[in-house]
């Protein structure tokens, strides 16, 4: 029996401590710890790696501070579009989804594609139809939106305007 391990990431950025601030840094640390331990508990109780990574990622999708699921980035047209994928090293089966807007947990959809579809990657409307057929949870688009990401979009648009002017 092997010693089990889980590693997670919540993204990588070019920001300083001052950019983030101590409160948000603490929230990131709590969010990472929570997701890590959710996955670790599954492994510790003898569960499968594929279920541990799905659960850890789902926990971060549900946490608005991470750029996935609730709290995801805005597109140029003020939409939220989500991509996700999952792969099992034992079977080499994979499931992936791109451009969905209303599925609460895109990683669950990717896992359902891995388990129940003959395809690997589904996109947009077809992916959401598949999610409906398999009774996955949907949320209204407002659920995914946060002020933090709206501010990021406005800031980015402003910076691009300045660049164009230059």
């Amino acid at each position: 029996m092997k010693d089990f391990v889980i590693v997670i990431h919540g993204g990588a950025e070019n920001k300083t401590r001052r950019d983030i601030g101590s409160d948000l840094e603490a929230a990131y640390r709590r969010g990472l710890e929570e997701a890590l331990l959710v996955g670790w508990e599954i492994l510790n109780s003898g569960g499968a790696a594929i279920d541990a990574v799905e659960a850890a990622v789902r926990t971060m999708e549900n946490n608005y501070i991470f750029n996935a699921g609730k709290g995801g980035a805005y597109t140029e047209k003020y939409k939220n579009e989500f991509d996700a994928s999952i792969m099992c090293g034992q079977t080499l089966k994979a499931g992936a989804v791109a451009g969905v807007q209303r599925v609460k947990n895109p990683i669950n959809l990717a896992k359902t594609i891995l388990d129940k579809s003959k395809h690997v990657l589904l996109t947009g409307e077809g992916a959401e139809e598949f999610a409906l057929e398999h009774h996955l949870e949907f949320k209204p688009i407002e659920y995914f939106r946060t002020k933090k990401q709206l501010d990021e979009l406005e800031k980015t648009k402003e910076e691009e305007k300045v660049k164009e002017f230059d």
Partner: protein, 135 residues
């Protein structure tokens, strides 16, 4: 973007990644996250990888599978493989490439080119580690 890689008690590896994409991205733009072999890859014999960063570069460098190939064919240690995969064709492929990985023996690889990477890991009953900055 968020992601995870894991090795269970039966020696099975898995990888998962999920993202909201880039801020202000073109509607319909898809990055590396759902591209198997680029942003996400797992193979029990070798390793599991989850990437984050500028998706276009990660796709063009096929970072996930590059790590796999370096470990499988060159027998490169996982940490070194992560670093080399992120830097392949650096003269032609721009953009930050950041990743976490795990080999079949449970050795961890973490490599990032940005100022910070939100990351955490836990091995068996050992204490867990949560980190953000280089130090």
């Amino acid at each position: 973007t968020v992601g995870a890689v894991a090795l269970d008690k039966n020696g099975n590896l898995a990888a998962a990644t999920s993202t909201g994409g880039l801020v202000n991205q073109h509607n319909g733009r898809v990055g590396d996250t759902p591209i198997i072999g680029a942003g996400t890859y797992a193979n029990n014999e070798v390793c599991a990888i989850s990437c984050t960063g500028e998706g276009e570069g990660i796709m063009r460098a096929v970072v996930g599978h590059e790590v796999y190939a370096l470990v499988k064919y060159l027998k490169m240690p996982i940490q070194e493989a992560c670093q080399q995969a992120a830097n392949v064709y650096k003269d032609k492929i721009e953009g930050d490439k950041n990743l976490i990985a795990l080999d079949s023996q449970g050795t961890i690889g973490i490599y990032y080119e940005t100022d910070l990477m939100f990351r955490a890991f836990k091995k068996g009953q050992q204490p867990h580690t949560v980190a953000i900055w280089e130090d």
